[in-house]
């Protein structure tokens, strides 16, 4: 079994690294598949004689990013163009609006999911539980496990090593354990101010 598990682990490691590299490649591809509008040449021209300062933007390639191509319409007559353009500062900038859109949408969806789950945990689940179990009080397990019962922790450790056959049981069990953990954390941080005060 050790050979098989070692093989599995190796496969997993290779798979993970492959995934990481493809992720990086995708990011590069996304950058390459740019929106046409995502490049610009920004020329800032200060006030000249009686003309006030202006900022000019144009979608233009990097080699054409200079005052003569970008500043249109030229506010000064012919002979002054050179003097005017000497003061202008042109910079080539690019961005990826696709990345921004995807990132914001990912963030908002994760935030929305978390908010829904929070509403479910805080409001909906107690109502559901009360309906399922009638009016019997749910006996919460004693929170101060660690100090009084030294052997209870051992139970916990040994129990974790046994495997549970039913998947649904596993999920339920994991969720219960997670809730207990969060409750412990909340007591340490918010109530007793022991950690992270």
């Amino acid at each position: 079994t050790t050979v098989w598990s070692g093989f599995l682990r190796l496969c997993f490691v290779f798979g993970l690294s492959f995934l990481a590299l493809t992720g990086l490649l995708l990011v590069q591809l996304a950058n390459a598949a740019k929106n046409f509008e995502d490049v610009r040449c920004k020329c800032i021209c200060p006030p000249y004689k009686e003309h006030s300062g202006y900022i000019y933007n144009k979608n233009i390639t990097q080699k054409d990013c200079n005052c003569l191509h970008v500043v249109e319409p030229m506010p000064v007559p012919g002979p002054d163009v050179e003097a005017y353009c000497l003061r202008c500062e042109c910079k080539y900038e690019e961005r990826s609006s696709v990345t921004i859109k995807i990132t914001i949408i990912i963030y908002l969806s994760i935030l929305g999911l978390l908010l829904l789950y929070m509403v479910y945990l805080t409001f909906v689940e107690p109502i559901l539980k009360r309906r399922l179990f009638g009016h019997s009080q749910l006996i919460q397990s004693d929170d101060d496990v660690g100090d009084h019962q030294p052997f209870a922790n051992a139970h916990d450790v040994l129990a974790r090593s046994r495997s549970r056959a039913n998947v649904l049981n596993k999920v339920e069990y994991a969720q219960q354990r997670w809730k207990l953990q969060v409750q412990e954390q909340r007591k340490s941080v918010f109530d007793r101010h022991v950690v992270l005060s």
Binding site: V13, G23, G53, E89, S97, L114, T122, S197
Partner: protein, 806 residues
């Protein structure tokens, strides 16, 4: 033959199979009362010549004694045993190397094992970089959401919304058709008193909404996600265990709520929490590799590298990140970790650059691009800025710790959600009128660091320009215009407000960092001083201090540089960083020109701040929380001895020991339930008090539980023995329980006359949890890490009862 109980009980049975055993058993029996270890081994060899009767069963016994799950793991809020972890890793490595000679498969396994560390660093860098990109883009967008929406696509923030507008004047460069403020959206008006009030109201409302979401998510899902995280990570890296602090829920909640907290306009930054996020990534990815999952010491090496990656993406400074991890966060930093941390930091910075959150491949919002020279005489104002930074740092630490202590001990701590909402409301209401507090702190720092070129038209750069004398791009020195004076008093108000409000913001129950607010305070102070010196040089260029190097008409003073130096000074004063601070700042500027001013300011601020209070903000928070962190930088200078610190003291009950073969299971269980020590020394007998080893409480509990369930015949009256062979048992006695495999046979001991300096040094260098004290070869007492910390606190006249954990 498989039954260990049968074998053990066989010494006095008279079955015909065991005749040989009985003879050697008799010899064995005799030797057991004398306890010199080498004789055991010799006897083993002797027995093997006896037809291998007992040797083969010994090997089978070892084969059966597989490690019980749970032995060797640690309790929550306990310290790890560095020595044991390191030796375990060395054993594992040796085993792999030896087995690799056997088959090709084993050789591949060995190569992949060596390669796994680098792969892990690569993955950590990628994940940390991606998360930092997500946080940057989202925070940038949400901050602007308080002011308005972009109609072109709601996901654009102000700057990106107006990115493509073709032609704008300087004054209107922030306005474009697609960007609508809330008043424009709701009442279609953008000027006027009513529009202003509506914008004000929406700003505060959005800020409150974000803060409420942040604190509720933290409270419901991951209470460990609040605060900065760096004090706790420092403690974890020194060997402490906080289960769940670096878990996946903490990671998700910290990422999401960090964006919300930063966007709500509170005076906090995201650099400290980014270190926590990166360490969470490191911890989670460690679970994919056995080498790091099972070994706590190796995992902490990975966490050091992950912390470096975190700072690297926060500032775009890979080298600074590695040095920050080395100086501030890590406890044991072997050289191998240095190279790997650098790799992780580089990968993270590269990933962030690919995501390109700010455009132009910049990694940080306040990247500085000027390279104007400075003069030696300017060191005087720089040192002055350093003094200011040190004073502010000490003042801030005192104020913040006092407020956090109040939050910890009084009623204030019972209303965390209300506290966050009140602070957000106050911050929002005070911040909106002043342009410099309304913008996000990173943008403020960026504007302050910026050198005013000819083309800038912000209020701060409103100098009186005389374009006739302008030759090319080189600017003369210019008198300040009206805009600059307005900016000066607005900035002073902003300075006062930021100084006061950050004291109450840092440490709240939302993710909060400290770097950006301190840099903002320093940058404002620096810019004010810089503009002052600049105007002084303009109006009095004939003074001797200026005439030597600043000719008339030349622009010699760069206020942006003063802002940078001020930011470094204040950050150094609060965190007491030295090398890492200077390297981060010089990586931000991209050049070595400003190293001397930065170093001068950083050193001055550290000296001034150290003169007022010894600890930086993170060490002060560690002490406030009572974590068992043994400070590695301080010298222990008192002349106490080990016997002054060891337990039991004269008034305490005698030392609780286990004997090696005369206690029953029931005795041990009673001892465990009556006392709360985390470990017990094992002695030969109570009369001789000669030391055999040390056994941990958790291992004892788990082994006894396991034995009761799985092994036949173990009852309360079974004898527990830590020796290799079972002690002589009376007839009809239950089989004995062998627990030698959980015994640490090489505990560290010192004599009672050892000076405490050496004991503290041993604890620091080896990472011990406890150390046994002997006198004339007999066990006298025990010193634990908590005792050492209490002793140090007592010697420094601090409260020794504040050390809470073991």
């Amino acid at each position: 033959m498989d039954n260990p109980g049968f074998r053990r009980g066989s010494f006095h049975s008279s079955t015909s199979d065991e005749d040989l055993v009985e003879i050697s058993g008799a010899t064995l029996d005799f030797s057991m009362t004398d306890d010199v270890p080498p004789l055991d081994r010799d006897l083993g060899e002797f027995m093997s010549y006896n037809g291998g009767g007992l040797n083969v069963p010994n090997k089978m016994m070892d084969f059966l004694e597989e490690p019980i799950p749970g032995v060797g793991t640690y309790e929550d809020f306990n310290t790890i045993d560095w020595v044991r972890e390191k030796s375990r890793d060395r054993d594992r490595h040796r085993e792999i190397t030896n087995k690799s000679k056997e088959s090709t498969w084993a050789l591949i396994h060995r190569v992949s094992d060596a390669f796994s560390g680098w792969l892990l660093m690569l993955l950590i860098g990628l994940l940390a970089g991606s998360l930092a990109g997500l946080i940057d883009i989202s925070a940038h967008w949400m901050t602007d959401l308080k002011e308005g929406v972009c109609l072109r696509g709601f996901w654009f923030n102000h700057e990106h919304c107006c990115w493509n507008s073709e032609q704008v004047t300087f004054e209107d460069r922030d306005k474009c058709l697609e960007w609508n403020t809330w008043s424009q959206l709701l009442i279609s008006k953008s000027e006027g008193a009513f529009a202003y009030i509506l914008n004000y109201f929406m700003y505060v409302l959005w800020a409150l909404l974000f803060a409420l979401l942040a604190v509720s998510l933290v409270r419901v899902f991951a209470p460990y996600a609040c605060g900065s995280g760096i004090p706790e990570i420092k403690t974890i890296l020194s060997g402490f265990i906080i289960r769940g602090y670096l878990g996946k829920w903490t990671l998700i909640i910290k990422t999401i709520t960090l964006v919300l907290a930063v966007s709500s306009g509170l005076s906090l930054g995201k650099e400290g929490p980014l270190v926590h996020v990166a360490c969470c990534c490191g911890n989670i990815l460690c679970h994919c590799f056995t080498k790091y999952r099972k070994n706590e010491a190796k995992r902490r090496e990975v966490l050091s590298a992950a912390a470096a990656a975190g700072v690297s993406v926060a500032f775009g400074a890979p080298i600074g990140g590695v040095l920050f991890s080395l100086e501030e966060v890590s406890y044991y930093f072997p050289l191998k970790t240095l190279w790997r941390s650098f790799f992780a930091a580089l990968v993270a910075a590269f990933t962030l650059r690919s995501i390109n959150p700010f455009g132009n491949s910049r990694l940080v919002l306040f990247y500085v691009e000027f390279h104007t020279p400075w003069h030696l005489l300017e060191l005087v104002p720089f040192v002055f800025l350093g003094i200011f930074g040190g004073l502010w740092g000490a003042f801030f630490i005192r104020g913040n710790i006092a407020w956090c202590r109040k939050r910890k001990n009084t009623q204030l701590g019972k209303y965390p959600v209300l506290e966050v909402l009140v602070v957000t409301a106050i911050t929002g209401i005070l911040a909106f009128p002043n342009e410099y507090t309304r913008m996000s702190t990173s943008e403020l720092i960026s504007e302050l660091f910026n050198d005013c070129g000819l083309l800038d038209s912000s209020q701060l750069c409103d100098y009186v320009n005389n374009f006739n004398t302008t030759k090319g791009a080189k600017l003369p020195d210019r008198p300040a215009g009206v805009g600059v004076y307005t900016a000066m008093w607005q900035l002073s108000l902003a300075l006062v407000m930021k100084i006061l409000i950050t004291i109450f913001t840092f440490g709240m129950k939302v993710p909060s960092g400290l770097f950006i607010p301190s840099m903002a305070v320093g940058a404002i102070a620096g810019r004010l001083l810089g503009v002052g010196v600049e105007q002084l040089a303009y109006y009095h260029h004939d003074w001797p201090i200026f005439s030597g190097w600043c000719s008339q008409g030349a622009d010699c003073i760069t206020p942006g540089l003063y802002a940078m130096v001020g930011a470094a000074a204040c950050l150094g004063g609060v965190t007491r960083m030295t090398v890492s601070l200077v390297v981060i700042m010089f990586e931000l500027t991209g050049g070595l020109e400003y190293i001397v001013p930065l170093m001068a300011a950083a050193m001055t601020s550290k000296w001034v701040a150290d003169a007022i209070g010894r600890e930086g903000i993170y060490d002060a928070h560690i002490r406030l929380n009572g974590y068992p962190f043994l400070e590695a930088k301080e010298e222990f200078t008192h002349k106490t001895l080990a016997m002054d610190v060891m337990r039991p003291r004269r008034s305490d009950p005698t030392l609780m020991v286990l004997t090696q073969d005369s206690m029953t299971v029931e005795d041990v269980e009673t001892l465990i339930s009556e006392t709360t020590y985390s470990g017990y020394p094992v002695v030969v007998s109570r009369e001789s008090q000669r030391l055999v080893g040390f056994v941990l409480r958790r291992d004892l509990i788990i082994s006894i539980e396991n034995a009761r369930k799985k092994q036949d015949g173990i009852v309360s009256t079974s004898i527990i023995h830590f020796t290799d062979h079972s002690p002589p048992l009376p007839p009809h006695a239950p089989p004995s329980l062998k627990l030698r495999n959980i015994l640490d046979l090489s505990p560290f001991t010192v004599t009672d006359q050892t000076p405490m300096e050496i004991v503290v040094d041993i604890f620091r260098k080896l990472g011990l949890r406890q150390c046994l004290v002997t006198h004339n070869g007999r066990l006298l007492g025990i010193i634990t890490k908590k005792d050492v910390l209490k002793h140090i606190a007592q010697m420094a006249n601090q409260d020794p009862d504040s050390i809470l954990f073991n």
